[in-house]
Symmetry: C2
Subunit: 188 residues, 2 copies
């Protein structure tokens, strides 16, 4: 396939993803109807579903895109920095509330759950790799297994997503994240 087509394809996919992100943030998962996705992306349903099999596929692609971006930050600066970024620009992460809407499906729909797990594994891997590196450098507390520290940071991330989704991310969360960061660090 010639290169110009690849570029066109990527641009079109990006246009769809950006529009869908706004649409999900505004209307939620159920409320993001095909008609609203058309409006938000400026494309016909035929064009949208040429690139993404269905709404689930579109949703999981957004999760994947976010996970990749977050994984880059997590690999370099850790998961707490990912959370600080979310706190600094909560409006960019409003769409994550959609993740909460689909929580019940994660519990009850094995196929959807499998697709989801695959896409969030990247962030977990990046976070774990950084934790191991910090452990090797003697910067991480060593009285708690690394997988518990990972589970801890993941749990706090889930809490932060819930908080941002409900518009309550404005209180004292910066200080809370300082505390979280300090509690995985080796006491000097």
């Amino acid at each position: 396939m010639p290169k110009v087509s690849d570029q066109h394809l990527a641009a079109r996919k990006g246009q769809i993803l950006d529009g869908a992100r706004h649409c999900f943030a505004q209307y939620g998962y159920e409320g993001a109807t095909v008609r609203r996705l058309e409006e938000a992306t400026g494309l016909s349903r035929g064009a949208i579903f040429h690139h993404f099999r269905d709404k689930d596929a579109l949703f999981l692609a957004l999760c994947h895109e976010d996970a990749q971006r977050m994984a880059e930050v997590a690999a370099e600066q850790g998961l707490v920095q990912v959370m600080r970024d979310m706190l600094a620009r909560p409006e960019e992460f409003n769409w994550l509330g959609t993740r909460l809407e689909i929580a019940r499906r994660l519990r009850t729909d094995p196929e959807f759950r499998a697709g989801w797990s695959q896409r969030s594994a990247e962030l977990t891997a990046a976070t774990l790799a950084r934790l191991e590196r910090r452990k090797a450098a003697g910067r991480l507390r060593d009285d708690v297994p690394t997988d518990v520290l990972l589970g801890y940071l993941d749990l706090v991330l889930d809490g932060l997503i819930a908080r941002i989704a409900s518009g309550h991310a404005d209180d004292n969360l910066s200080g809370v994240l300082d505390l979280v960061e300090a509690s995985v660090r080796r006491k000097s």
Copy 2:
């Protein structure tokens, strides 16, 4: 009003709340239609909405009931114990996933948000009172303001609710809660 009527009224309200809890857990907020609420409670819509103005009122009453129960535990044993209880019997807290579905409404619907805040204030007050008591007893770390510790515990609770709602509460969360508990405690 004679006492037997009061008892009848309380029993009927309890019957509605129990049925609604199951209905929300199974179908989610949107999916808990009036017809399904009738089936789950064994009562007619007339009977249900005689006791609760609408579905929002029913939902907020459930939140209130939970917050009261949790507040009792939080007042005596702290918010981490509340979380340990949730972890021990996640199936009883499945309905909390509904809380996540309404996150967007908390952000965008001031009236609903006000009703919600009023009902979750009880748990916050109980947790704060216990933290202050422990601080006075020298059991709480004193290098972090109490409101930050409260915000921290609240954030972890939100994460745990998200985790239970998506059926992922089975990993290493007991060890994670040990870590959370230790990180608000005064180092001896």
